[in-house]
Symmetry: C2
Subunit: 201 residues, 2 copies
């Protein structure tokens, strides 16, 4: 008979993660503290230790959740799209670019190797997931040909990540732009399209 309230919480762990995510959105990584999260949930400052041994563990669990969200997003969008690998790559790229634009603090956290434990059991399988999506499609294009799969994939993945990251930092803000801001990502994807063309893909 699952009572979903024990004495102060049904699932404190879930509540903590939800609070952590909200704090991340509002204040950035530095705002996601053990005490701050506990405070927001309305629980004592040391309560989280039962579910996350560390601030590091908390941030790592949060990051794992975020990555899962992105994975689901990509999977859903890919279902609505043709089997053409290039189209699918563009789809993946767009999901990712949108994610970075709408949730800059979440995106930045994903790559903070100093506060997130990418070697943990929870993360080891996850941190490469988005990259793997890209590789899958590149594979379809390159199988049977004498082309280095990784060079293409790393090139695309690097450009994608770099663009999102630099945009979050504010690099491209006051730059004279003959291409409007919204079309810029598309221009980059199209640019990479020419790379594939060049390799005969």
């Amino acid at each position: 008979m699952a009572t979903n309230k024990q004495f102060h919480h049904g699932g404190l762990k879930l509540a903590l993660l939800r609070a952590a995510r909200d704090l991340l959105d509002e204040e950035g990584e530095s705002g996601v503290g053990v005490r701050a999260v506990a405070r927001r949930v309305g629980v004592s400052h040391a309560a989280p230790v039962n579910h996350f041994k560390d601030r590091r563990a908390l941030l790592t669990a949060l990051t794992a959740e975020l990555i899962d969200d992105i994975r689901v997003d990509i999977e859903n969008r890919l279902k609505t799209v043709s089997e053409d690998p290039v189209t699918r790559i563009e789809t993946i790229a767009n999901v990712f670019i949108d994610y970075g634009a709408h949730h800059p603090n979440r995106y930045s956290l994903l790559w903070r190797y100093d506060v997130v434990d990418h070697e943990s059991e929870m993360m080891r399988s996850k941190s490469d997931i988005i990259y793997d999506f890209i590789c899958d499609e590149i594979d379809k294009l390159t199988t049977g040909r004498n082309i280095d799969r990784d060079t293409i994939a790393i090139g695309l993945w690097s450009m994608l990540h770099g663009y999102i990251d630099l945009k979050i930092v504010g690099m491209f803000e006051d730059r004279a732009d003959s291409v409007t801001g919204e079309d810029r990502p598309r221009a980059l994807v199209k640019m990479f399209r020419t790379v594939l063309d060049n390799y005969g893909l």
Copy 2:
């Protein structure tokens, strides 16, 4: 008659910045604290406030120094190289890639908008410097032609930054590699070369 020792230090400001840089290399951004820096220089915990009003100000000043170093590096390397814009772009890229590989903590700090004040007087002129180097060369290639300068520059700059950043995070570590690690950057630069070719540059 400039006595270079006042009562405890000649140039405490410089010494603090030097200590900050060392701590950054050894422990990463989180290791660069006001108190830790003061401790290393051998001065009281509140001494730095006279020269840097904040931890933020300290990190910002350090970042400004690092960017200056890179600028000097690039300028020097460009002197030893032909006037061919593509060659010069490759040179810039290589300097930057090497910097990221040898000083990962320094490179990461450059883009930490949460702890570095990129809007400060000191930074406003500096944070675009490396990007400007690239733009200068792209300009030489695109002037007179109906090609969007920024799309090319942003694409290259994004790929460059993204690759360095992802490499620091450890993304490409255990990945099957038909291209050896050292040749990877060159492969990417060459890949971008094909982009330029495609635009007829």
